[in-house]
Subunit: 522 residues, 2 copies
């Protein structure tokens, strides 16, 4: 396999010198009808409003071929050590099904390992939901709380919120879930204040079993359980999701452990037990299984070698074009669905933690921009907020819209001959066109320049399968971009220094007068 | 008053050519101790880790003087037509107290007008909280829901979340509040599903009384009320916050109206009845009054002509320096307080909708970057997410930290000789220093370049007064930046085109095959 920096690729040089054309001059009815790439489960990526011509698509294909993007994905699936910095395999795809070869590490078939853990999730969630599993004072679980941070929090939280309304509408019995993440004591204190200790189960999620915030919040929760009812045995209220070798795995403080391993990075772990335990308890195992199916199918679709047939690959290449040829530093994620309210926060982590790097996979500095800054809020709210800058600001922000034909709750109202869902979709459509085409006006203050590039991911309805597809689409997009930029998208050395210095502050920061001076402000 | 574009200011030219120095070479114990500017209520702006020398501060002062920044603020307070595009006064400061001259428009003293509306808020909220006010089936209000979007939603929502834990801890009786904003039917449907119709009061907020999303959601709510209990009179469950001239003001569909006017822009309206009704009902009028006091004092502090004595002014100037001299296109807002979880979303709107403009206050195009892209999430969550890019990405993102000495809920735990609040502050302090100083390492993957500029707003505890100060600090910062960029920060023409096109789509988009083609994807 050939690993070169992006600027060494001859196809990239060709792409750079290819004629550029704005979406204003490019957008036609025909493009909207034809610039579509299916992922899975009806999820379709439409790039009609992206400044991408047939010629540029040819350069994309050449770049993809030259950099062996789908081949690299294939060897990743087959168990190559793609997390070069930490010398680890990258196996999150395997948590939703096997596509590549059998991956055996230290005599263990990893596909079987993840299946076994998944089966433990199935069994346990069924016990909890059927009230066979009882908490320490004999009560069934009425509320479940995940204690985790970063990848153990943002993904599962976004998915939980994305499925809550769907599950309710489909008549699934729902065990409400909450999430405690921040070391700020107001976070656990606020969440716990509304709960009944005797009926609450906690899922403690930390791969290493040493995450400061999470272990602190575990103590917080234990103290709360005992305070609420001294006869509670806290260990009976806590299960762990951790690695086999972590101190939590055999701790007497937890009643049960589900295992993950070092080959599934935190931000890629939503489809492992990290997301599985809480989602299966909240909605039923079959809902989580639906999510896995959608993700698995998207993973398979991402193997297609042709850029015009591979949504994740094309999305990745367009993103690199926007970043490295057109020099746009940011991207906004704009879901037109209330269920996806926290999906941008998950994608922000996924993307910025994976590709916000300045060294390549061999640890050598790169000379070109890598991962962009990602932000977003649900439409139509954003329209009444930061869209002003997107339309008329001095900087161009590429946009990724997400939309659905149907609402999740199917509870709607007709006002002036259209439903709210109609209005939502009308707004989404209007924004894409407004951003692309703009509008001239004699008054410069009412002028819209257009040429604001956007893409659209759309599907019929936000179901578990569709959500899984969306999740995997973005994971695979980020992976392909990491390959293009020649990065290791699977480590996060950038979070280490802060941890070290925080510990130093807690120990008094002796000899470090700068840390001390800041500490003394508080 | 002199209105010139930034690049015409001689002090800006001097600033541009002033020697630059990174925070890595600048940060000392002495700077941390001395680079502090008080706003109000103990809120202090610390800029020690900003790449700002004494010489640069002199240029800031010269620029502020040349552009008459505090004088412009003074005439704004005194009732000048600062919203030039819409030919309107800008009076949001007056909603929290009078600083400037009496402002009389069409024979009405506006200070008296806002006071009268505030007094109506006081009376009504007391009636609601004392259960004197009863809903249509004779029940008191047990839940209050704001229906509004953009400025009628993000600010009040952020403030509600920021005060909830404080109010509970201080023993204030709490009437829970929710917010419906999105035209996505899943938004109202999901919120309403958990509520008791007979005990819920709605606050319909639309200045014009014509906001599509809000009126649609009003119908949604009315239908829900009737469906839940046909004997409910919906009009008795809805009060309005609107302008006197709007169709809502005298509508028989609402039982009561609180007035705002065209001189308070949506994103600046949290301290008017837009935020006042819901916050006063939820927590008590005196809590909202505390917020107003804090904001009023920050407004007064922002009049100081010396940049080293005026936190909002200095914050604004530093932001312009980062944007127009150092060319950083984004800024992250990082509150180390769970209560401020949605404060970044409010500031995103406030900043990007106010200054995301490419024409100046006279409607002429400007040739320099204006408002940056704003995003953020609470720490310590962000540390385990997008901080990777902030530390080691290829782009520099200036940072604004917010932190407090004490937690809101005062419910804490000691683990390994430190409380969670200690850990939170330690992390905050550690991050500032890690971003500024970085760390060298033989392994480039473990290297932190440093020179990531940040500022810190800190206070003792997040109380209503402190929150009001923070709110006003940012409003005034954005206002000063608008003056510096010579913008009108008080209109939002950029939101219009989308509205027009959305209406067209809803009407079938005849003759517009591009709109139709997009609509047909759904």
């Amino acid at each position: 396999m050939k690993y070169i920096n992006l600027t060494e690729a001859s196809a990239f040089k060709a792409l750079e010198s290819s004629p550029q054309i704005g979406s204003k001059d490019l957008l036609t009815k025909e493009r909207i009808q034809t610039c579509s790439v299916p992922s899975a489960r009806g999820v379709t990526y439409n790039y009609a409003a992206m400044p991408v011509t047939e010629e540029i698509l040819k350069h994309f294909q050449a770049l993809s071929d030259e950099l062996q993007l789908t081949e690299k994905y294939q060897i990743l699936l087959d168990g190559a050590v793609m997390n070069t910095g930490e010398k680890r395999l990258v196996l999150h795809h395997l948590t939703r099904g096997q596509i590549g070869k059998n991956v055996v590490v230290d005599g263990e078939n990893k596909g079987e390992f993840y299946k076994k853990e998944l089966s433990k999730v199935r069994t346990f969630s069924k016990e909890v939901r059927s009230k066979t599993f009882l908490l320490s004072t004999g009560k069934p679980v009425a509320h479940v709380v995940q204690i985790g941070i970063g990848g153990s929090d943002l993904g599962p939280r976004a998915l939980y919120l994305a499925l809550k309304d769907w599950a309710e509408t489909e008549g699934k019995e729902h065990i409400p879930a909450s999430f405690i993440s921040n070391v700020d004591p107001d976070d656990p204190s606020g969440i716990l204040s509304a709960l009944d200790a005797e009926e609450t189960l906690f899922i403690l999620v930390s791969k290493s079993g040493t995450t400061l915030e999470t272990l602190t919040n575990q103590r917080f929760v234990e103290a709360w359980l005992k305070k609420r009812n001294p006869s509670i045995d806290p260990s009976k209220h806590v299960v762990a999701v951790t690695s086999k070798s972590s101190p939590l795995a055999k701790s007497s403080e937890v009643s049960k452990s589900f295992f993950i391993d070092d080959y599934v990075g935190g931000r890629y772990s939503s489809t492992s037990a990290v997301g599985g335990v809480i989602l299966s308890i909240a909605f039923g195992f079959e809902v989580f299984e639906g999510l896995l199916k959608g993700a698995h199918e998207a993973d398979k679709a991402a193997l297609h070698p042709h850029v015009k047939e591979n949504a994740a690959l094309l999305d990745a290449l367009i993103g690199v074009y926007l970043r490295n040829v057109l020099h746009y530093p940011t991207t906004a994620i704009l879901p037109y669905s209330q269920g996806l309210s926290r999906f941008p926060a998950h994608l922000q982590q996924l993307d910025m933690e994976s590709n916000g790097k300045q060294v390549n996979r061999d640890g050598m500095p790169v000379s070109y921009p890598t991962g962009p800054i990602i932000f977003g809020e649900p439409g139509t709210n954003g329209q009444h907020s930061f869209y002003q800058l997107l339309h008329q600001g001095t900087d161009i922000v590429p946009l990724q819209f997400i939309g659905f034909s149907e609402s999740q709750r199917k509870d709607d109202i007709d006002v002036e001959n259209s439903t709210s869902q109609d209005k939502l979709v009308a707004n989404l459509v209007a924004q894409i066109v407004a951003f692309a085409l703009g509008k001239d006006d004699k008054n410069p203050n009412k002028r819209f320049e257009g040429n604001r590039p956007s893409s659209l991911l759309h599907a019929k309805r936000l179901t578990p399968e569709v959500l899984g597809t969306l999740l995997a689409h973005y994971e695979n997009k980020v992976m392909f971009q990491g390959f293009i930029w020649n990065l290791n998208s699977f480590d996060q050395e950038g979070v280490q220094l802060g941890k070290v210095l925080a510990t130093k502050v807690l120990q008094g920061a002796e000899g470090d007068e700068i840390l001390q001076a800041y500490r003394n402000l508080f």
